[in-house]
């Protein structure tokens, strides 16, 4: 074993696993039992990572592909969706026409002046009405607000990449309950009112997330059809988010309609409640 730092030895051994060492380096490793043991540890780590996770259920795959293609089909695709695909810069940068740039600048300046002139009286009302120096702090705070607004504008691009739950409307939230029994009791007669504004972050599911579990459930039980789904909301039991789905159902014999309530864990879409009312 050499006196080299751990990191440089591991880098050499790791590169050797990938066939990235010179013949001399490779021979040196093969001749040192301690290095061989260490390389085996790295090989084990590499093989562990290399084991593929289990493939997705084909129903889920279809659902993901369908949702993707649906966005492709949509006219005027939402420009803020998704992660930006990397692009290459053109080898020959495009030159802007200076006259066109000047025209755009003048147009923007004109619009800006027009807006200031329009908004001026109301914004300056405190100053013109009172002529008081107290207006200065207001002005400062207004500037601060403007700055905040400007900052919000500049950070808008990054916030666009926030989670689907932040980008899209979220599924309604009906509250948290102490136990499955308490939730079942609350759902016994009708769906509790949605309290969207009270929903903690963890209960804010995107419709896509709700659809995922819904698709899994509907694949398991063909009687559950999307067209029969009346509602999808979130609820919590002891802090864990659940998706509650309400389906229109028919009693055996089809003599009368009823409602089937199914609550599933959001992570694994596993059933927690399933009853008819």
């Amino acid at each position: 074993m050499t006196d080299e730092p751990d990191d440089s030895i591991d880098e050499l051994l790791s590169a050797d696993l990938d066939g990235q060492t010179t013949p001399d380096e490779h021979r040196r490793i093969e001749a040192d039992p301690e290095l061989l043991v260490r390389r085996n540890g790295l090989r084990l780590a590499a093989r562990t990572v290399g084991s593929s996770p289990p493939p997705l259920d084909p129903v889920l795959v279809d659902s993901i592909i369908d949702r993707t293609l649906a966005r492709f089909d949509r006219v005027g695709v939402d420009p803020i969706e998704g992660v930006e695909a990397p692009t290459r810069r053109s080898a020959t940068p495009r030159r802007s026409n200076p006259w066109l740039v000047a025209a755009v600048v003048m147009l923007v300046a004109g619009i800006g002046i027009g807006l200031i002139a329009t908004a001026g009286p109301s914004k300056r009302k405190g100053v013109t009405a009172t002529g008081d120096v107290r207006s200065r702090p207001e002005s400062k705070s207004a500037n601060a607000r403007d700055a905040a607004g400007s900052a919000a504008t500049t950070t808008a691009a990054s916030s666009r990449r926030d989670s689907l739950s932040e980008r899209t409307p979220t599924v309604g939230f009906i509250g948290t309950y102490a136990s499955p029994t308490a939730l079942r009791s609350a759902l016994r007669s009708k769906l509790p009112p949605v309290r969207q504004s009270e929903a903690p972050e963890v209960f804010r599911l995107s419709p896509g997330q709700a659809d995922r579990c819904s698709t899994v459930l509907e694949a398991r039980d063909p009687r559950l059809r999307r067209s029969n789904r009346r509602a999808a909301v979130t609820a919590g039991i002891a802090g864990e988010p659940l998706l509650v789905l309400e389906y229109r159902a028919q009693t055996v014999g089809g003599t009368r309609t009823s409602t089937r309530i199914i609550a599933v864990g959001v992570a694994a879409c596993d059933e927690r409640l399933n009853f008819e009312r």
């Binding site: 751990d6 880098e11 990235q20 997705l56 966005r71 998704g82 992660v83």
Partner: protein, 189 residues
Amino acid sequence: MTDPDAGLVRAAQDGDRAALDQLLRAHQPGVYALCRRIVGNETDALDATQDALIAIVRGLDRFDGRSKVSTWVYRIATNSCLDEIRRRRRRPTPGLPEGDRTGDHQVARFDEQVAARIDIDSALQTIAPEFRAAVVLRDLCELDYAEIAEVLAVPPGTVRSRIARGRSALAAELSGNQPPTTRRQIRRS
């Protein structure tokens, strides 16, 4: 060598929906596997996969064929996964980590394969995302150093170093050894 996906991409760029469907289906397993290993749980991996596929569709017109389609796809997917990790850091954690959520209803379904998978995931989660991504791209996706450098937009020397340090930390984690002090800097804070 001819890129096997080049024809599909050209057709999809020309508006062939079936070609796009085929392209997405061809790459979905790789994208999901990459995301599953990088983000560490199924729910977030599905979100990252969906985001990545949407980004592929949206970026299709800008793909100029200078890199392999698979490299381009992995680059989008890796960015999507790293974004998902950043978003997750801003979200409160719902109760126990997924690996610990073993209620009565789940215990019966546990088998050795699941336990092993959780070990891999939890071990991977102990190393920083940029090292994790490099290791996963090499050992799971089997990209070479140059391709990983392109995906991660870093020099090949950095790739070699990240892979080595990621594997080293992972080896220590899997063997139950405390990593040496020199490696702590690559572990998650």
